[in-house]
Symmetry: C2
């Protein structure tokens, strides 16, 4: 019997790796990281849990492939900007927004260094840094700093979103709770945290993120120019 014939005879879509990844993304988006179980996925796809293992190697493989699908889309959308610095900002923002929409992507990027989604990001950043025409020795340092910063913020934003989801809080309620906690810290040991506690809610994470990219680009310009 040829591939998937039985399912198709039952009037169902063929069970393919792509279909599994699509369902996985939908489940991760709607139910969070803990919502993706092979039992739930099998139910959505009207199949048995074991059948999934014919198309994905493990849960880890599935989450990584789901992440890669989102990252590939986000990176493809950054091709239209002109100058390398603009393009680098665009890459950062595309990822920021993708992770805002799919927080689990940020967690996966932080979890699986060296895999396809992170290589895509490194490639995008590296190509633009090469176009900055820096001294040869500075190329890796500049790429590495930008990459670490961008993926690092990605992970933290994902964590914020996850906590919000788990506690059922929206962003401003979560920040209010954090502000309250921080303002109760010991005044001698934590003067800075206390001083920023009240301002937490007003901050625009996305703007802060771009400012960070600009700081690194400035540092690259002053330190690495040839």
């Amino acid at each position: 019997m040829t591939k998937n014939t039985r399912r198709i005879q039952r009037g169902e879509l063929a069970l393919t790796r792509a279909a599994i990844i699509d369902a996985s993304i939908a489940l991760l988006d709607s139910s969070g990281e803990s919502g993706l179980t092979f039992r739930a996925l099998a139910a959505v796809l009207a199949t048995g849990a074991g059948a999934l293992y014919f198309h994905v190697a493990s849960r880890e493989d599935l989450v990584n492939a789901s992440c890669d699908a989102i990252v590939a889309r986000a990176m493809a959308a950054t091709m239209t900007f002109a100058s390398p610095p603009q393009r680098l900002r665009a890459i950062g923002l595309a990822l920021f927004d993708a992770i805002d929409a799919h927080p689990w992507v940020g967690a996966e990027l932080a979890r699986a260094p060296g895999t396809m989604p992170t290589v895509r990001i490194l490639e995008g950043i590296g190509q633009q840094v090469q176009a900055l025409d820096l001294a040869e020795e500075a190329l890796w340092a500049a790429t590495s700093a930008l990459f670490s910063y961008i993926v690092g913020v990605a992970g933290q934003n994902a964590a914020n979103a996850r906590i919000g989801r788990e506690r059922g809080l929206d962003r401003s309620t979560f920040l209010d709770a954090l502000a309250t906690q921080w303002s109760q810290l010991d005044a001698n040991a934590f003067p800075f945290a206390r001083s920023v506690a009240t301002q937490l809610r007003g901050h625009d994470d996305r703007a802060d993120f771009v400012t960070g990219i600009d700081l690194i680009l400035d540092g690259i310009a002053t330190r690495c120019a040839r």
Copy 2:
């Protein structure tokens, strides 16, 4: 019967939150993140799994508290440096080294934003940035960029170490495997990744990390001076 009397009569140490955290750190160090289970921990502490819940709220609480113990120690060791930039580099390196020794700390920092260990780090960075005497509006941007970068690299290094452990590879074997994978990527789509693949093994992550801090400090100096 007073606290812990029964265990002490049996010639055992008192079951306290501190003792549980110590055992948790030892287990995380020796067996990795998946090695910390309440059953294994209870066995080490010669108690029942349920008893642990009298002293820690959940597994999440326990890992966070274990992380905080390590971070508090690392931050305390950075008090001896003179200038704010030196101190900021020292904070970064202290965390880098702590995470090198305890990779699960990096993962936890990335997972639990706003909790005690991250507040300690933010406080340390914020105090030093305040001492840089920047324009008021630039204070948060500078602190936020340094914090994101440092915690971001922490998370990625932790992930590298975790993968190495899981696959039973040392660092250079892991990098060799990555280099082989990357050099097999499509030449048109991934020219940068292919070009750095062969150099991966030679990079000093710790030095790259400090260079990144310096780039951000340079950017702060040129952009935020008042």
